[in-house]
């Protein structure tokens, strides 16, 4: 498993190298077929030096990322009043950032490539963010979804895995495989919770990677037509056993209400059940996950406040406060040394355990160019996934 997971970043790096040379000659978008991953990025200038702080800062964030507990101190320190807009999905975040009314977004990997390629966000000058330093955990630096053509576009906030949650009163034996949610003969048919988003197709792909190696899937976000079809078939098979397709708003009551006893979930949602009988596990096939990063709007009206915010939230204590509040691994590993409580939190979320996160495929926007480096086929993009998703739910 580790080997193939390492293969992807290497292929990506190689492809990016090709992209750099490719872009200088044709300057166009993906030229498909001759050089793998070529992504043309609009030329957006980077901030060279900081100026005086503006008066306010408008942030689009996941629920729990911007709270008075740490935002008020930021306002007192810098004079930047923080206005928060909570978004429920990555797609919503992308749309909100395009209104031009927001300075910062806490983008997940499935949104960031779209924002970068459309020119909605600007490259970041990490020298102006002293807290973005050596303490940032290894697995969150220089990922494809926030670093492109050698430019950093995102300052990492935290990461987490899409775990398998189960009701230990019903599922008495700890499941070690996703087969309990995918296989026809699952004893929990009719009580299975599935995530309601096209990106959930990647979860099916990860299962197929292990159980149908003939399909040749090496990256769940790089599926050709055949592979997407196989994943869709698996999802259709699951559809008959699904109790509920959940959103963050329905996940908790789906489990506590007894409609679901096993299924994909987030650590933060499992915690929100406030009931220890709901347990979580990362199955042996690995899992999807997310990695979030602050991204700065191209036309930001308050870039100085935004830089100040990115620096402030990268500090060990603030970054840790966000991670603890949301229920995820913090980006700044130094937080884990601050206290026993911090240490316990980091251990629980495997914050600095790269071996754990090697089993996690962070959300990435599927695009026409195969992210696994294949050049002989055209991969399916996120719109293909969205269309396929509608057929799953019939």
């Amino acid at each position: 498993m580790n080997k193939k997971l390492l293969a992807a970043p290497i292929a990506m790096a190689a492809a990016l190298g090709l992209a750099l040379t490719g872009c200088s000659t044709d300057g166009g978008t993906a030229a498909g077929g001759d050089g793998g991953l070529q992504i043309d990025v609009p030329d957006v200038p980077m901030m060279e030096k900081l100026g005086a702080n503006e008066k306010e800062l408008n942030i689009v964030a996941w629920s729990g990322f911007v709270e008075p507990a740490w935002a008020d101190k930021f306002t007192a320190d810098t004079g930047c009043v923080v206005n928060r807009k909570v978004a429920a999905t990555s797609d919503e975040m992308v749309q909100l950032m395009r209104t031009g009314e927001y300075d910062l977004v806490s983008a997940s990997g499935d949104a960031s490539l779209r924002l970068i390629v459309d020119g909605n966000v600007q490259p970041l000058n990490t020298e102006l963010i002293p807290n973005f330093g050596d303490d940032i955990v290894e697995g969150m630096k220089g990922q494809l979804y926030d670093t492109l053509n050698g430019n950093v576009y995102g300052i990492p906030i935290g990461r987490g895995a899409n775990i398998l949650e189960y009701n230990s009163e019903v599922v008495t034996e700890t499941p070690d495989s996703w087969s309990v949610v995918w296989e026809k003969d699952s004893p929990y048919a009719g009580k299975i919770a599935a995530y309601d988003s096209p990106i959930y197709i990647a979860d099916a792909a990860i299962y197929l990677m292990e159980h149908q190696p003939d399909l040749g899937i090496t990256n769940p976000y790089a599926l050709d037509q055949e592979q997407l079809k196989a994943a869709t078939e698996l999802l259709k098979q699951q559809n008959a056993m699904v109790s509920e397709y959940w959103s963050p708003a329905t996940n908790v009551t789906s489990f506590t209400g007894g409609n679901s006893v096993v299924g994909t979930s987030w650590e933060v949602l499992r915690k929100a059940t406030q009931d220890e009988k709901f347990k979580s596990v990362l199955p042996k096939e690995g899992a999807t996950g997310w990695s979030d990063a602050w991204m700065l709007a191209t036309d930001s009206k308050s870039p100085n406040c935004a830089y100040a915010w990115m620096d402030y939230t990268s500090a060990p204590d603030v970054n840790g406060a966000i991670a603890m509040n949301f229920g995820m691994g913090p980006a700044n590993g130094a937080f884990c040394e601050l206290s026993d409580e911090a240490k316990a939190h980091c251990d629980y979320f495997n914050a600095t355990d790269e071996e754990y996160y090697k089993q996690v495929w962070f959300w990435t926007t599927p695009i026409d160019q195969c992210l696994d480096g294949r050049t002989d086929v055209k991969c399916t993009n996120y719109q293909d996934w969205t269309n396929a998703w509608a057929t799953v739910k019939g």
């Binding site: 390629v117 397709y245 959103s247 007894g258 993009n381 739910k393």
Partner: protein, 294 residues
């Protein structure tokens, strides 16, 4: 005398001008509503519908103007979309029928049988759900229909368990949401029926049910249809019920919601489906002549 009275009369330039220029009169009356109707209402709808012929950049999901029928071709060729449209149509019709079936006897009871006090209490009960937010009501329905929820708890002694989340629960939830929109017009119509018609019907030997069928129902048709337009079209467009109590049920609105950020042209094309269904429905209603009495 006549000159004096002419002098006494105060000049009224605006009314005089409007009196002299009937077109100006018309314009001043209609400008405000037409600005709203055309500028805000029709224009935004038209722009949205035009998007259905546009394309989306598959990578950035940015909408690009152009002309393509691909979005409509997808609606026609993908079986899942057709199935979803049919399912939604079935749910909307069921909701409408159930609402109507409950409204008529309730309205007759309220206006003809119940005393003034009971009538007021019933009126409050019918409209009570309108006082709460839509989401609150849907989540309330979610909570009572969960496996460990109220209905399963109440039905357990009888050895029955509720339907769980699915098409049936979505239908019941939509009935709960839209019932007042059917019950209120029907009640108003029944209340306007002269009481002596009931006496006459009774004198001629008709019992309760026959009176409803032959006297009340024809008089109620227009308001039933008015109510059905609400329950039918509101159910067609709903997606939040499917999300909260649908389990794995997908409705037209779910597909529109799924695509609204990623593929707005497809969402716009799909929004033609309920529009067409409502137009067909209104056409069918018009043939009955019921709309003439509204």
């Amino acid at each position: 005398m006549s000159t004096q009275s002419a002098l006494q009369r105060k000049p009224r330039p605006i009314s005089t001008a409007l009196y002299r220029h009937p077109k100006g009169r018309l314009a001043s009356l209609l400008t405000l509503p037409m600005t709203w109707l055309v500028g805000v209402y029709i224009l935004s709808l038209a722009i949205m519908l035009v998007t259905a012929f546009w394309t989306t950049d598959p990578f950035t999901s940015r909408v690009k103007p152009g002309f393509t029928l691909d979005n409509f071709a997808q609606l026609a060729t993908v079986p899942a979309y057709g199935m979803t449209a049919l399912r939604t149509l079935g749910i909307a019709l069921a909701v409408t029928l159930i609402c109507a079936a409950f409204s008529v006897p309730l309205a007759v009871f309220m206006s003809q049988v119940a005393g003034p006090k009971l009538r007021a209490v019933l009126a409050v009960l019918v409209t009570l759900p309108l006082w709460a937010g839509y989401l609150v009501k849907v989540i309330g329905m979610r909570l009572v229909w969960t496996e460990n929820g109220f209905f399963n708890w109440a039905l357990e002694p009888l050895g029955i368990s509720g339907p769980g989340f699915g098409v049936l629960t979505v239908t019941l939830t939509l009935v709960y949401l839209w019932f007042p929109y059917m019950a209120i017009p029907v009640y108003t119509a029944v209340a306007q029926i002269p009481p002596n018609l009931f006496d006459a019907s009774s004198d001629l030997g008709a019992r309760g049910f026959r009176t409803i069928r032959t006297v009340v129902a024809p008089l109620l048709m227009p308001s039933l249809i008015a109510g059905s337009i609400f329950t039918f079209s509101l159910s067609l467009g709903d997606y939040i019920s499917a999300m909260y109590v649908g389990g794995s049920t997908q409705m037209i609105g779910s597909i529109i919601a799924q695509n609204i950020n990623l593929n707005p042209p497809l969402a716009a094309a799909f929004s033609f489906v309920p529009i067409v269904l409502v137009i067909v429905y209104l056409g069918a209603v018009r043939r009955t002549g019921a709309l003439n009495n509204l």
